[in-house]
C-alpha cells in the first residue's frame, strides 16, 4: 500500500465567490450547472443545510496512478438520512484492477467489466451533489481523486467546499491542549478512523469498505458530532473546509 502523497493544501477564503467564478469560466455544461447551483451562505446554521455524504472506493491512494472503482452518495440533513435517496455507482477504472484491491473492496471483475466509465455517470453525480454541502471522512481522498478524474475527462477539475468528519474528530482529539499534552507524554494518539470515531459516539459497527455504507456511516457520524460538540445553530463557516 502506498502512503498519502503530500499535496498542496486547498484553502478557500470565500467558497461562494470561488464557486461563482468557476460557474462563469466553465466550458462543460454539467460543470457549469453544478457551480451555478447556489450553496447555502457561510452563516447558515448547520440544521438548515442540505448535505450529501460522499464516499469513494479507489484502487490506491495516489490519484495520479490509481482510479475510482465505486462512489456512494447519501443526501441528508441534520434531522434525517433518507435511504430512499441513496445513489451508488460501480465504475470501470481506465487501468485493470489488481487482485489485492478486489479482496479489499468486495467488488468483483465481473461487476467492473459491465460497469460504465466515470464520464457516463458524472452528470448524474454532479446533479445529486449540486446545492448540497458534501460530507466526507478524510477529504484528501475524495477531493483530489474527483478533481483529477473530472479534469482527465472534461478538461477542467471540480473542487468544492466540504465538511470533513475526520478533521472535526481531529479537532476534538488531536488538537486540544489535553491531546497535545498526552502526545508529549508519549501516549499513542486517539484513532480518528471512521469506525473508531463512530465507536466513541455509540454508533454501531457496519461492514466497511463499501462506498455507500461508508457514506451512510459518515452521515451518521456527522449527526453525532454535531449533537455532542456543536449545536444545530453552528454556522457553516465554522465547520466547512
Amino acid at each position: 500500500m502506498h502512503g498519502i502523497r503530500l499535496r498542496q493544501k486547498v484553502v478557500k477564503a470565500n467558497w461562494l465567490d470561488y464557486m461563482a467564478k468557476r460557474a462563469e469560466q466553465a466550458h462543460d455544461s454539467a460543470l457549469r450547472k453544478f457551480f451555478a447551483t447556489p450553496l447555502p451562505d457561510s452563516d447558515t446554521p448547520i440544521a438548515q443545510v442540505p448535505m450529501a455524504a460522499l464516499d469513494m472506493e479507489t484502487t490506491g491512494l495516489d490519484e495520479r496512478r490509481h482510479a475510482i472503482v465505486s462512489i456512494g452518495v447519501v443526501p441528508f440533513t441534520l434531522d434525517r438520512i433518507p435511504l430512499a435517496q441513496r445513489r451508488y455507482w460501480v465504475l470501470k477504472p481506465p487501468r485493470p484492477l489488481d487482485e489485492a484491491s478486489i479482496a479489499y473492496h468486495h467488488i468483483t471483475h465481473s461487476e467492473i467489466a459491465t460497469a460504465p466509465d466515470l464520464d457516463a455517470v458524472l452528470d448524474e453525480l454532479l446533479e445529486v451533489l449540486a446545492g448540497r454541502l458534501v460530507v466526507v471522512h478524510f477529504r484528501n481522498i475524495e477531493r483530489p481523486f474527483l478533481d483529477a478524474a473530472v479534469k482527465a475527462r472534461r478538461g477542467e477539475g471540480v473542487i468544492f467546499p466540504m465538511i470533513d468528519t475526520m478533521s472535526l474528530e481531529a479537532r476534538m482529539h488531536r488538537q486540544t491542549m489535553l491531546a497535545r499534552f498526552s502526545r508529549w507524554l508519549g501516549r499513542p494518539p486517539v484513532s480518528i478512523r471512521l469506525n473508531a470515531s463512530r465507536e466513541r459516539y455509540g454508533l454501531p459497527v457496519y461492514q466497511g469498505h463499501h462506498a455507500l455504507i461508508d457514506a451512510l456511516a459518515t452521515a451518521e457520524l456527522l449527526q453525532a458530532q454535531i449533537s455532542h460538540h456543536y449545536t444545530p445553530e453552528t454556522r457553516l463557516k465554522d465547520i466547512w473546509v
Partner: protein, 636 residues
C-alpha cells in the same frame, strides 16, 4: 436487493416482529428507512407531536413515558416504539427519550400501514395486548393435539429381518446380536401387495411373518425341529401390524385385541421397527394416569415418598407433549389429591375408624386445581358438630400429623404459614368453621385477611364433602353483600404488582430499577389469581379454579366486555411461562423454582409476558376503583 441495504435488513430481520416478515416486505422497509442519531438525554418523541413514522432502535437505549412522566417502558436494540400512536390519531401519547447515545431507523407510516395490511403476525404484534396474548394462548391450545403420541416415537431401532430360507439357528443368532426379541421374515419379490415394500436399493420384498422369542420355543424347540430348519417353514401366516402414525393407545388396543405382544411398525408398507408390549408399558408408566393408580397401590408412606421422581417425570412429559396450564394444573392437583387420599386411607388403617365423621379440606392451589411442581401443603380438618375435643382430638391430631408428615416426605413441604390440619385452630367442627368465615367477612381488615384469604380457595378431598359445600354456600351468599370484605380483599390483592417488562438481560421495575430475575409466581400468577378471586367472591361464584371463576365473572356485568378473556389469556400465558421455566430447571438438573431469568426468555416470550404484565397491572387499577372502602367506614 442492494448490498448496502443488507446491513439494515439483516439487523431488522433478527428482531420481532420483523423476523417473521417475507424478504419482499423486509426489502420494502430497508428501502425507505430514514436514520437519525440522538445523543444521551435528548427527546425523540415529544408529547402531542405529530408522528408519521414507526421508530426502530438500531443501537442505544430509549425510555418511553406516560404523560404524567411515569416510566412506561425501557427499550433496547431491535425494539420498536410509536406504533400505538400510528394506529390511533398520530399524536404522540407516550413521549420517548434517548437514555444512551442512540441511532433510530424511522419507518414511514405508509410502509408501516402496508406491513399491517399484508402481514397478520406483524399486525397482531403492534396491536394492543389482547391479540398477541390471544394468539399465544391459541397456539398453546393447538399444540395440545400432540397429546396423542404416535407409536413411531417408541421405535428406537430398525427391525431384524431375515429371508425365509435362513435357518432358525441363524435367525436366532441375529436376534441375539441385535438384543431384539423378534425377527421379521421376508422374501424377495412379491405376491401379496399388502406387505410388499421396496428397500433402499429399490429391490421389492414381501414381509411374510414374524417369529418371536416365544415362537422359537413353541414352534421350533417344542416341536423338536432341527436348528437347521428354514425359518419360512415355521413362521406364522398371521401377521398383525400397525402404521407408524397410529397412536400409542391404538397400538395397545391392537395388541390386546389380537393377543400379541409384538407389533411390526410400518411406514406406509415398509417395516421400520417392532414394538413390544413392554415398550408401551415403560412409556405409560411415565404418564399421570399410571402414576395415580400406582399411588393407590402403595401400602406405606415410605412407598409413596419413592414416587416423587415419577411426579416430576410426568410433569416434564406433559409439558413436552404440549399440555396447557389448565391440564398441567389439574393433573398435578389430581396427583396431589391422590397422595393425600392414600395417606388418609393408610392413617385410618393405622389409627382405626374415625370417632366422628370428618372432611379433609384442601386450600390454595390444590383446591383451585392449579397445582404446580413447586408447592407446599395447605389443608385443614372440618369435623362433625358431634366432635368433642377431649374425647376425639387425639385421634384427629394423630391423623393430621400422619398425613402432613407423609405429604412432606412426598415433596409437599410443610406450610410456612401453618395452614395445616396439625394446627389446632384449623382442626375444628363445622359450626366453628362457619363462625370463622362469618367473622372474616363481617369484620374484615386487610391485616386479618392477609393470612386467611387462602381459605377462600377451598375444596373437599376426602370424607364428608357436604361440610365443605356448606362453607362454599355460606361464602357465596355472604360475600357479594359485604362491600367492606371485598374492599379489604381487593386491597390485599394489590400487595404484589407485576414488573414493567424486560430490558436487555434484566427485569425492569416500574421505578426503572433492574433485577436479575423475577419470581413469576409472586409477580404474576399469584396477584392474578388474587384479583380473580375478589371478582369471583363479588359475583357469588362457587367455582374454585381461576379459569372457571373467570367464566362465571364473564356472565355478569362486573367487567367490561372482553376483559375476562384478556385476563384468562394473560393468566394462561403467565402460568405456562412459569411451567416452561420449571421444565428447563428440571432438565438441567436444578431444583425447580418460580424464578425466571431474562436471558432464558426468548424474544417473542418477552413481548407477550410484557403484555400479560400490562393486563395484570390494568386489572389491578380497576380493582382498586371497583371495590372502594365504603364511606361510613372511612369516616370512623
Amino acid at each position: 436487493m442492494d448490498v448496502e441495504l443488507l446491513e439494515i435488513r439483516q439487523h431488522m430481520g433478527q428482531f420481532p416482529p420483523f423476523d417473521g416478515l417475507s424478504d419482499e416486505l423486509l426489502d420494502a422497509i430497508a428501502e425507505h428507512v430514514q436514520v437519525r442519531y440522538y445523543k444521551t438525554g435528548s427527546d425523540i418523541l415529544r408529547f402531542d407531536d405529530t408522528l408519521k413514522e414507526l421508530c426502530y432502535i438500531r443501537s442505544g437505549a430509549v425510555e418511553v413515558y406516560r404523560r404524567q412522566g411515569e416510566l412506561y417502558n425501557r427499550l433496547g436494540e431491535g425494539d420498536i416504539f410509536g406504533h400505538f400512536s400510528l394506529l390511533r390519531n398520530h399524536k404522540v401519547r407516550l413521549p420517548a427519550k434517548a437514555i444512551e447515545d442512540t441511532l433510530i431507523y424511522f419507518i414511514p407510516n405508509a410502509v408501516f400501514q402496508r406491513l399491517c395490511e399484508e402481514d397478520d403476525d406483524f399486525a397482531d404484534f403492534v396491536e394492543l395486548e389482547r391479540p398477541r396474548l390471544e394468539t399465544a394462548a391459541e397456539q398453546q391450545k393447538k399444540s395440545n393435539d400432540m397429546m396423542v403420541t404416535r407409536i413411531r416415537k417408541l421405535v428406537t431401532r430398525y427391525p431384524v429381518m431375515v429371508e425365509s430360507t435362513t435357518t432358525v439357528q441363524q435367525a436366532a443368532k441375529q436376534v441375539n446380536e441385535a438384543q431384539a426379541s423378534a425377527v421379521l421374515v421376508i422374501n424377495e419379490g412379491s405376491n401379496n401387495p399388502r406387505y410388499s415394500f421396496q428397500d433402499s436399493e429399490g429391490k421389492t420384498w414381501q414381509m411374510c411373518g414374524i417369529l418371536t422369542d416365544s415362537d422359537f420355543r413353541t414352534r421350533v424347540v417344542a416341536e423338536n425341529l432341527s436348528a437347521q430348519t428354514a425359518i419360512g417353514e415355521v413362521v406364522s401366516e398371521r401377521l398383525i401390524t400397525i402404521q407408524s402414525d397410529a397412536s400409542v393407545y391404538e397400538a395397545m388396543l391392537t395388541m390386546l385385541r389380537n393377543n400379541v405382544h409384538h407389533l411390526p411398525v410400518l411406514y406406509r408398507q415398509r417395516p421400520v421397527g417392532v414394538v413390544h408390549l413392554s415398550d408401551i408399558i415403560r412409556y405409560e408408566t411415565q404418564s399421570g394416569l399410571y402414576l395415580v393408580s400406582n399411588i393407590f397401590n402403595q401400602s406405606s408412606a415410605q412407598g409413596l415418598a419413592k414416587l416423587a421422581p415419577d411426579v416430576r417425570a410426568a410433569f416434564v412429559r406433559m409439558v413436552q407433549e404440549g399440555a396447557n396450564s389448565q391440564m398441567v394444573g389439574s393433573a398435578l392437583s389430581t396427583i396431589g389429591r391422590s397422595f393425600t387420599r392414600r395417606l388418609l386411607e393408610l392413617a385410618e388403617e393405622a389409627l382405626g375408624p374415625p370417632p366422628v365423621p370428618y372432611c379433609f379440606m384442601v386450600n390454595g392451589s390444590m383446591a383451585r386445581n392449579e397445582q404446580s411442581i413447586v408447592t407446599d401443603q395447605d389443608n385443614a380438618l372440618i369435623l362433625s358438630d358431634d366432635f368433642n375435643p377431649d374425647e376425639h382430638d387425639d385421634y384427629f391430631h394423630a391423623l393430621a400429623a400422619f398425613v402432613s408428615d407423609g405429604l412432606d416426605a412426598c415433596g409437599y413441604t410443610y406450610c410456612k404459614g401453618d395452614v395445616m390440619a396439625t394446627n389446632r385452630q384449623w382442626r375444628q367442627p363445622l359450626h366453628i368453621w362457619k363462625r370463622y368465615f362469618q367473622d372474616w367477612m363481617a369484620n374484615p381488615t386487610p391485616e386479618r385477611l392477609l393470612h386467611s384469604s387462602i381459605f377462600f380457595d377451598l375444596d373437599s378431598i376426602y370424607g364428608e364433602d357436604h361440610f365443605v359445600e356448606a362453607l362454599q354456600d355460606l361464602i357465596a351468599q355472604t360475600a357479594p353483600k359485604s362491600p367492606l370484605f371485598l374492599a379489604a380483599m381487593a386491597r390485599n390483592a394489590l400487595n404484589r404488582t407485576p414488573p414493567l417488562g424486560f430490558f436487555r438481560t434484566f427485569v425492569m421495575e416500574k421505578d426503572g430499577k433492574h433485577n436479575n430475575s423475577i419470581n413469576l409466581k409472586r409477580r404474576g400468577t399469584a396477584p392474578m389469581v388474587d384479583l380473580i378471586r375478589v371478582h369471583a367472591l363479588a359475583c357469588g361464584s362457587k367455582a374454585q379454579n381461576s379459569f372457571q371463576r373467570l367464566n362465571d365473572i364473564s356472565n355478569t356485568q362486573l367487567l367490561a366486555t372482553g376483559v375476562s378473556d384478556k385476563l384468562s389469556y394473560a393468566l394462561e400465558f403467565l402460568c405456562m411461562s412459569r411451567i416452561r421455566h420449571q421444565v428447563i430447571d428440571l432438565q438441567e438438573d436444578r431444583f425447580p423454582d418460580n424464578n425466571i431469568e431474562p436471558e432464558n426468555v426468548e424474544d417473542s416470550e418477552r413481548h407477550t409476558l410484557k403484555d400479560a404484565f400490562q393486563v395484570l397491572s390494568n386489572a389491578q387499577k380497576f380493582l382498586k376503583f371497583r371495590y372502594p372502602v365504603p364511606a361510613q367506614r372511612q369516616g370512623r
